[in-house]
Symmetry: C2
Subunit: 169 residues, 2 copies
DNA sequence: TGAAAACCAAGTAAAGAAGTTGGAAATTAT
DNA sequence: ATAATTTCCAACTTCTTTACTTGGTTTTCA
């Protein structure tokens, strides 16, 4: 289980998806604005999430993404594994050939740590996360911003601010 | 607590040092050969380990490095922290300003995971590792190679093999 | 005095992360 | 039908970090 910002982006986006479950599909555009991740980077991540069978995309206006499984069945570990294919924490990637075909001195230590991390992340699902108070709190704040954007008022402010500063990213 | 190959190199080298404790100082040349890490990369890592007060260097012939503290007092976490200064697992590095000065959706999750990893690595010391059977086993195999190199026989073989293949790295 | 080592600084190469660009295909709303 | 909206796709760029390289200098021992 390798841990990078890439995996974090994926988990955050998936959690956003889980929070909107039941409403209409969520567009990447929407996630990009809320979580401040670039749209095309999200596209790349979602291509992998889709390949892993974690989400399904729907094209056209009103389209977007939905979870492909029940949120209680999607573990954080599976999300991270989906986007960052090479999950080798050790020099050898699990095989014990780190050093001249033999185990290196610290092989067991990293294996043990990998197991611990996997155990932790595999034990938590999106379903569990959406029920956490602190997640709900942040989600509500973000929902308010989303409403503002949709109504057009905040969007105008942002566009104006961007043109003053020198363009959005 | 960020986890990279850099930290792993440092821990492996430190463990090598711990295993030789009591004998004469260990040269980086020696570690480089045994653990297959480039000498100058090791120099850079040891500059940081020295700055962190984990090792002390002795110059001149017969010199090398020794642990600066009792091996039972050196945790794996402290070794990793020494070489990989920016220990930010989260987008915000512990501060809760990951998103527009506010906590992002998954802030608590990563903090929790960071704590777990730190707890694990902080609970293990070099002193503990050198007593583990699998470490002792690997160390003994490496010691045999070291003896062979010192006696000159294996070294000759390696040099010959290298010139056949096209040079060492 | 010479060799062996730590020490130091600057650079390079390769990889991966993150983002960019410019589309094509599907689907819905007008 | 057509236009807008969205996923889907591929290639490329930029930035950062890792890992390694080069070419020294100082210290210390034999």
């Amino acid at each position: 289980m390798r841990l990078t910002t890439k995996g974090r982006y994926a988990v955050t986006a998936m959690l956003d998806l889980a929070l909107q479950e039941g409403k209409r599909p969520v567009t990447l555009q929407d996630i990009a604005m809320n979580q401040e991740i670039s749209l095309s980077y999200l596209e790349q991540l979602f291509a992998k999430l889709r390949a892993a069978g974690l989400v399904k995309g729907m094209r056209g206006p009103g389209g977007g993404y939905r979870l492909a499984q029940k949120m209680g069945d999607i573990s954080i570990a599976s999300v991270i594994a989906a986007v960052d294919e090479k999950a080798d924490m050790t020099r050898c990637g699990g095989e014990a050939n780190c050093l001249d075909g033999e185990k290196c001195l610290t092989h067991e230590l990293w294996m043990e740590l990998s197991d611990k991390i996997y155990e932790f992340l595999n034990g938590i699902t999106l379903g569990e996360l959406v029920r956490r108070p602190e997640v709900i709190e942040v989600a509500e704040r973000q929902e308010a911003v989303r409403q503002g954007l949709r109504s057009g008022r905040l969007k105008t402010v942002i566009v104006e601010a961007d043109s003053l500063i020198g363009g959005a990213k």
